[in-house]
Symmetry: C2
Subunit: 328 residues, 2 copies
């Protein structure tokens, strides 16, 4: 029998989950939930019902794992605990500073309901976190580096769009190649914010807007751009749509450390991602962890988990014997 997945929230991430489920024959999409009008919503998978979000509790026996596809700012802090009462849940909560309280909220409900909730799944937090953990435990005498990009930062693009005179914008975060090389050399450099990443902005100005002022406003924007070397390129809406329509992303987690009685040997562990579609890759990670949530719950586990708590074998539809034979 397939693992029956519910999608809660049908934006970029929800659509990514929908397409990822198709690549996993042991799973099926059981239902999509939305806060909009379900009758007006068209999804890609034929024959799958769309319900209003409020109906979710009534579907408790029709769905094995509910995947939450809302935002970390206001949706997930409320929705993940609420739905963990009825379902095994997986979310991609990514507000790093608030993970401890989100974990506690989901854990309290899931311990009570006997369900498994896996939070903060994706690539960062998620696969990058795992690689930071593995790097730390293998090379305790070492240093971590995380670089992001080249990729689109939604938050920075939004910040530019709020600048007066801006019609549309896209911002790329770009790791500095010389910083990457310094880290890969094993030199364990101390790198300032400005030395790790640059920011490249493609901006569509409104007719008659003061471009010099827009550029100045962007480059000096605190938190978002002031600490970086930022370039601003003004282009037409057509060019923005044509050349910058995708949502690529990626990055690098590098652990550099020493071993030996005198610390005489240096080792570099590098994990990198090059992603055409940030939401589709995130969704693909989430779907694998949905399988784990289902299987761990079947074995009697409950409560809140993160990627740190999931034995990798649970992610695969293959048996332990198959995994040992084929992948070990």
């Amino acid at each position: 029998m397939s693992i029956r997945i519910g999608i809660f929230g049908y934006g970029n991430l929800g659509r990514g989950v929908e397409s990822a489920i198709r690549q996993n024959p042991d799973m099926e999409l059981a239902a999509v939930f939305t806060r909009r009008d379900p009758a007006a919503m068209k999804i890609r998978t034929e024959g799958v019902p769309v319900y209003h979000a409020d109906k979710a509790p009534e579907l408790a026996d029709k769905i094995d794992v509910m995947i939450l596809c809302g935002g970390s700012a206001t949706d997930l802090p409320v929705q993940t605990p609420a739905l963990a009462k009825y379902f095994n849940v997986v979310d991609s909560f990514d507000t790093h500073a608030k993970i401890p309280e989100h974990f506690a909220a989901v854990d309290a409900v899931a311990q009570e309901s006997g369900k498994v909730g896996i939070i903060s799944v994706g690539w960062d937090p998620g696969m990058f976190s795992l690689n930071r953990l593995f790097g730390n435990v293998i090379l305790p005498d070492g240093k971590d580096y995380t670089f992001w990009g080249k990729g689109v930062s939604q938050g920075h693009s939004d910040a530019i769009r709020r600048v007066e005179g801006v019609a549309d914008a896209k911002q790329y975060t770009i790791p500095v190649e010389s910083a990457l090389e310094a880290v890969r050399s094993g030199a364990n450099p101390e790198l300032a914010t400005r030395e790790k990443h640059t920011r490249e902005c493609f901006v569509v100005a409104k007719d008659g807007a003061d471009k010099a002022k827009i550029e100045e406003t962007i480059k000096t924007m605190p938190n978002y751009f002031a600490d970086y070397d930022t370039t601003v390129n003004f282009i037409s809406q057509e060019e923005l749509n044509e050349k910058h329509g995708g949502i690529p992303h990626g990055g690098f987690v590098i652990r550099s450390g020493k071993t030996g009685f005198e610390g005489e040997n240096t080792h570099i562990i590098e994990y990198s991602l090059k992603l055409d579609s940030n939401p589709e890759f995130t969704s693909s990670v989430i779907v694998a962890y949905a399988r784990a949530a289902y299987r761990m719950n079947k074995e009697g586990m409950c409560g809140c988990k993160t990627v740190f708590d999931v034995a990798p074998a649970y992610l695969s539809p293959k048996t332990g014997a198959e995994l040992r034979k084929e992948l070990l």
Copy 2:
């Protein structure tokens, strides 16, 4: 209280474990076991006893985890099951084809004794296996590539040393850069053995040996060299000692796959290692898994495990809350 580690076999790997334990304050070296004369053995850590291998069962209550540092050909198939009767054990068994039977042998004993045995720990099998698994589950519509090197292959170096007229030798396995680039492009190329790696040999010939014949013998050696582009360099013993005394290694696991309703987006996941010392890095991985074996056993688990069965949090001395706060 520290986790008390025993080292069973004191070669390169055993010394690597000894130095790795020093980097982990929650662990201590309790004893070293050898099949040689313990009285003649000098180890680096002061005050730690060296026992004959036969004495191990008598130390069952003095050691929390026994780390087996012997070879996969004849040592580990016998020793790991034998010691799992008395101890939690970790080994680096790396004969891929025989993993299923080794697993079964260790599992039978460990289920009975109530101990945890983690086999095939290191980087391949080990960290590379984990990355193959993660790649497969995240991008099911994709392809795996594993490249090794640049690094010293002990087996190939030994094979050269057995050639008539050879006094000493060192062999490097080198990934072909253009093959790596083709994989990173997302093209999912089919690569023949010869296209993935080259082999570079540094050979010290005995006085008066026929160098042309040695070179011919190496290059046409079945299994080891015949399927590769191999270069043979004759050098002096002094140069070999001076320039090729290390045991570096490393490699790459790359997963390239597609997502989207039409498979329109390509993603590349790359994990790479650049290691100054193959045995010290392997040891460092093993020591982290020794911590996991101890903690899993404390929680009541038993039986044979691999890296696939170990939730990453068990590898770290930090609490779940610390890990979520600092690394997630």
